[in-house]
């Protein structure tokens, strides 16, 4: 059971909707907060595309935080999302090496430590998602079930094939996934920065 506590009914409903991936709620969150995030990022050396990327990352981090259980929102949802995006963008700018940033004096706002950690990992997460999405459909299914701890026998039944075949496929799919992640230049960059 997720205990969500927001400061007003609208934010409460939007957070509950986000947790269900409810399309109307997520659209409402876009309308509520994206324009001001885009404006701030543009004012701070970024583009609309940058702002849209970090906006999605922030919503995924927020989703994961809410999904964990108790979540108490102590300011408005709009402000909270803006603070998350602001921190994400500041850390993104700082990680771009060799690029003098006029924002080096800006300190990120203080967020809950666990959420801060989720934001720090979000660029790595996006990288994993990207390479996961690049796998074939069958590979994605097998990996997804495997990560969800479905047994090889059950996976074989679902795909109407043998357990032995699934075992080999799982090895190949995972090897491909891990190799493509490791070969991505961003992966090394993130490892260096972390």
């Amino acid at each position: 059971m997720n205990m969500i506590k927001a400061q007003n009914d609208q934010d409460q409903k939007l957070l509950e909707g986000l947790l269900r991936s409810d399309r109307m709620s997520v659209e409402a969150i876009y309308t509520l907060a994206l324009p001001s995030v885009v404006r701030w990022v543009r004012e701070n050396n970024g583009s609309e595309a940058d702002a849209r990327d970090i906006f999605q990352e922030a919503l995924i981090a927020l989703f994961r935080k809410v999904e964990q259980g108790e979540f108490n929102l102590t300011c408005t949802l709009k402000s909270f999302i803006r603070i998350m995006c602001r921190n994400l963008w500041l850390s993104r700018l700082r990680n771009k090496q060799n690029q003098a940033s006029p924002l080096e004096d800006i300190e990120p706002a203080v967020l809950d430590a666990d959420l801060e950690k989720k934001l720090e990992r979000s660029e790595r997460e996006q990288l994993f998602f990207k390479h996961f999405d690049g796998l074939g459909e069958q590979c994605r299914k097998i990996m997804q079930w495997f990560f969800d701890k479905v047994s090889l026998r059950e996976i074989a039944e679902r795909l109407d094939t043998s357990e032995n075949y699934i075992k080999k496929r799982k090895f190949n799919c995972k090897e491909k996934l891990i190799k493509t992640i490791q070969a991505d230049p961003l992966f090394n960059e993130l490892n260096t920065n972390s």
Binding site: L18, S21, D22, R23, V26, E27, Y30, T31, L34, P35, S36, V38, W40, E43, E48, R52, Q56, L59, I60, F63, R64, E67, T74, C75, T76, S79, F80, R82, I83, R86, P102, D105, I106, A109, V110, L111, R124, E125, F128, F129, F132, M143, Q144, F147, D148, F171, K174, E175, L177, I178, I181, Q182
Partner: protein, 254 residues
């Protein structure tokens, strides 16, 4: 690069399917082999990120909405005024009424009055502070939270009082001084806001100087100090906070 047998071991280790002895040996091996340790961590991390249907559902939803969601076109200038609370709106309307009647006699027909320009461009600065708890100082935490709440709920008179108090007691007072001044401006108290912003700008750090200039220029506009407003808008650097709007205002003030 890992060979299939090491892969098997990693899977077995992460699935917690090793015997106690196998586990001990594997952990010993990891200690002396950082590459193996990294590989195991990566496998674990990837599994943690990708497990569960719900996050993938959300990603799909986000992707679809992001493709279809267009940012609103720049709202017409009056749109920004729509959300102003009644008290502020009344204060601003009174200023505009006086300025417009003066403008009818004094300004060229195609220019906008300073009051109109103020109303078109003014909106309070986004709240960048979040609520927090300051370790060991409950009353300070409460004061910060109360000030942020007042500002966010657009009770600017109260916000002005609370931010002033914070700026007098805090070491890191700069941002509170800025919010104090903006709260004054937002509650229709233009003259006091002007003094507060003038003082703020003499010591402002690079972090807030541009915001300070923008709001001081607007405060001058609100008080019909057109020349001072012009020179302050001109001081906003290219690419700085609200630079484009400042240019637009300067064109309209000509």
């Amino acid at each position: 690069m890992i060979d299939p047998s090491t892969y098997e071991l990693i899977e077995k280790y992460l699935a917690d399917a090793m015997s106690a002895e196998e586990r001990r040996n594997f952990e010993e091996e990891m200690k002396s082999n950082p590459a193996l340790q990294e590989e195991v961590s990566l496998h674990q991390e990837v599994a943690d990120v990708l497990k569960g249907d719900s996050v993938h559902e959300l990603r799909m939803t986000l992707k679809e909405i992001d493709q279809s969601y267009d940012l609103p076109k720049d709202a017409p200038p009056t749109a920004k005024v729509r959300q102003l609370p009644f008290r502020r709106l009344a204060a601003i309307a009174a200023v505009i009424a006086v300025l417009i009647s003066a403008a009818l006699f004094l300004m060229p027909a195609n220019s906008l009055s300073s009051g109109e320009l103020f109303a078109q461009h003014y909106e309070p600065y986004d709240m960048v502070l979040n609520q927090r708890s300051v370790e060991g100082d409950l009353s300070l935490s409460q004061n910060i939270n109360a000030a942020v709440n007042a500002y966010e709920s657009q009770d600017f008179e109260q916000a002005a009082i609370l931010f002033k108090k914070l700026s007098e007691t805090q070491n890191e007072a700069e941002v509170y001084r800025l919010y104090h001044a903006i709260s004054l401006l937002s509650s229709g108290n233009g003259e006091e806001a002007t003094r507060a912003l003038e003082a703020f700008n003499t010591t402002a750090s690079p972090l807030y100087i541009e915001q300070g200039r923008w709001y001081l220029a607007l405060a001058y506009l609100q008080n019909d100090h057109v020349e001072k407003a012009k020179s302050t808008f001109q001081a906003i650097k290219e690419g700085g906070f609200r630079y484009k709007e400042a240019k637009e205002i300067l064109n309209n003030l000509k």
